[in-house]
């Protein structure tokens, strides 16, 4: 536990230190690195870009993947084997390998690489969203719910939108938060495919590493706080949906 905690603590301390080159503990504490960081328009832009990219990609991924997993789980269970194969594949193929393939396929034919990166992110989120959606659907007994709704005269789409979606919302929300946090920390694809042309928070941090250690740790701390917030949200929502299931 100590081993896991030490680097985090040291980074926090470093981001608050005035001068810390020759002594074991910092010579003084200050918030000026944070002030400098938040005053830097480049940081705000990078933060905004990361946010927009992760947010939009997550939304698109949810819109594409959730209904597809739904209809496969409920109406075509035989196709699940195929989907599971893809899930394994995306999980087993690391970012570097994906980057090679994507560059070969799409570079130099006019499509902006940022779109390609976002596309690769969609596929990268598949394992998390598939698992999340599937678990929610199974917990809900979606198959019998759909049968009941159809017996009562609802069309499939109506039943899906009115009954299934509201019930799996909290589960999907948790998976979406997880997806967002994964994309927010992504470096490999964006660095190899896009590089400096679309500077996300991770790229900004990388560029700042050599410039100022204090500012870099202020970025790291900011990033880490954001991750902590998202994680605590995930925990709270998971608990709530569990609690509700126990009651019902």
């Amino acid at each position: 536990m100590l081993y896991l905690f030490l680097p985090v603590a040291a980074t926090v301390l470093y981001s608050l230190a005035t001068e810390w080159n020759s002594t074991v503990l910092p010579e003084g504490l200050t918030l000026k690195w944070f002030a400098e960081l938040y005053g830097d328009p480049r940081f705000l832009q990078a933060f905004g870009r990361s946010f927009v990219l992760s947010f939009l990609t997550t939304v698109v991924a949810v819109v594409i993947i959730v209904p597809a997993v739904f209809s496969i789980v409920v109406y075509a269970p035989r196709m699940e084997k195929l989907v599971q194969l893809f899930v394994m594949l995306t999980y087993a193929v690391p970012g570097v390998i994906m980057a090679v393939g994507l560059i070969r396929t799409y570079s130099g034919n006019g499509i902006p690489m940022i779109v390609i990166t976002a596309g690769a992110y969609l596929v990268g989120l598949l394992p998390y969203l598939y698992q999340g959606t599937r678990n929610s659907l199974l917990a809900l007994h979606a198959r019998s719910l759909m049968e009941a709704a159809e017996l009562l005269g609802a069309s499939r789409w109506q039943a899906f939108v009115r009954i299934i979606v509201p019930n799996i919302m909290s589960g999907i929300f948790v998976s979406a938060l997880l997806s967002f946090s994964i994309l927010f920390g992504e470096f490999v694809l964006i660095n190899i495919l896009v590089g400096g042309r679309y500077e996300t928070l991770q790229l900004y941090l990388y560029n700042k590493l050599s410039a100022s250690g204090h500012v870099a740790s202020a970025i790291t701390v900011t990033y880490f706080v954001l991750m902590a917030i998202i994680t605590s949200l995930i925990v709270r929502f998971t608990r709530r949906s569990f609690a509700r299931k126990e009651v019902s």
């Binding site: 081993y3 896991l4 030490l6 680097p7 985090v8 040291a10 980074t11 470093y14 080159n21 020759s22 002594t23 074991v24 594409i64 209904p67 597809a68 209809s71 496969i72 109406y75 893809f86 594949l89 995306t90 087993a92 193929v93 690391p94 970012g95 570097v96 390998i97 980057a99 090679v100 393939g101 994507l102 560059i103 070969r104 799409y106 390609i116 596309g119 690769a120 596929v123 598949l126 069309s155 499939r156 899906f160 920390g185 470096f187 490999v188 660095n191 190899i192 495919l193 991770q202 941090l205 990388y206 590493l209 250690g213 740790s217 790291t220 880490f224 991750m227 994680t231 605590s232 925990v235």
Partner: protein, 281 residues
């Protein structure tokens, strides 16, 4: 029946299009590219020949396998004990520890590399501390060496290993332990004869996931020294993105070989766990 087909089609067509466009086509194109002469042209296996005859690339593979194996081994041994320790905590504390573990597993890549620079870099906390105590391990250890990189790898392996192993301990029921104790087994005996064999398939499986995870890791090593480490993912990145000069076909061949290594690790895992399960039953 017709309505059924329409819903299935409407929802799955974008889904499969996405997979085809951003997963299958790029992978196939990469495999095809690895057999192509540079700058287009005919079929050739010269890239593979080059990799297998070039000691530089062979060394990259050796380094990658070595550091992945070592960091996975250290990570899993530590995690076996850490996960067990967590199961002994009271319930509410267990949840909290797991959340923290989960959180630190987000702490990877660039931020992680940076934190280690603060701790152990040239003017890192521990290096300064050691200097004041009169120890100079400048000769034997620096963060930018292999041992330093291994430490960083272990850091991102550990939370993952704990998260994967922790659920396994729930398979070991308290009653087994009580039964074993009644029959006169010491705790040592219990873990050696019952606990460990039950956990073993899971440990092997987790190990192969860790191994694959480390083999594909790129960001941490890249952040520490740019393209200087001779690791397979770093070489691939350099070959395709043109840090030095781009040779995408050779990069493709390297990527195919890396992918085959990962696939082999997963297949061995599958085979081993199945074999062990059969032995147990």
């Amino acid at each position: 029946m017709k309505r059924f087909a329409s819903m299935l089609l409407v929802t799955t067509i974008p889904f499969f299009a996405m997979i085809a466009l951003f997963l299958l086509v790029p992978l196939l194109s990469m495999i095809e590219g690895s057999f192509q002469a540079e700058g287009g042209g005919g079929f050739t296996i010269s890239h593979y020949q080059e990799i297998f005859s070039n000691s530089y690339y062979l060394q990259a593979f050796e380094n990658s396998v070595l550091i992945s194996f070592l960091s996975s081994l250290i990570g899993i041994i530590a995690a076996v004990f850490a996960a067990y320790a967590i199961t002994r905590f009271p319930q509410s504390l267990q949840q909290r520890v797991l959340v923290i573990t989960n959180l630190t597993s987000n702490f990877a890549g660039i931020p992680l590399a940076f934190a280690f620079i603060v701790l152990l870099g040239n003017s890192g906390l521990f290096v300064l501390l050691a200097k004041q105590l009169g120890i100079d391990f400048g000769q034997s250890f620096t963060l930018y060496s292999w041992s330093g990189l291994t430490l960083v790898y272990v850091y991102f392996q550990l939370p993952l290993a704990v998260m994967l192993l922790y659920p396994l301990y729930h398979a070991i029921q308290k009653q087994w332990m009580e039964a074993a104790e009644l029959l006169g087994a010491s705790p040592w005996h219990f873990w050696l004869r019952i606990g460990f064999p039950v956990l073993f398939p899971g440990i092997v499986g987790t190990f192969s996931i860790l191994f694959a995870n480390a083999m594909g890791a790129y960001a941490s090593a890249y952040a520490l020294t740019g393209s200087n480490y001779n690791l397979v993912p770093i070489r691939i990145g350099a070959l395709v993105s043109g840090d030095i000069f781009a040779r995408p076909e050779l990069g493709s061949a390297l990527a195919v070989l890396l992918g085959m290594t990962l696939a082999a690790a997963l297949v061995v895992n599958e085979w081993l766990t199945r074999k062990i399960r059969r032995d147990l039953s």
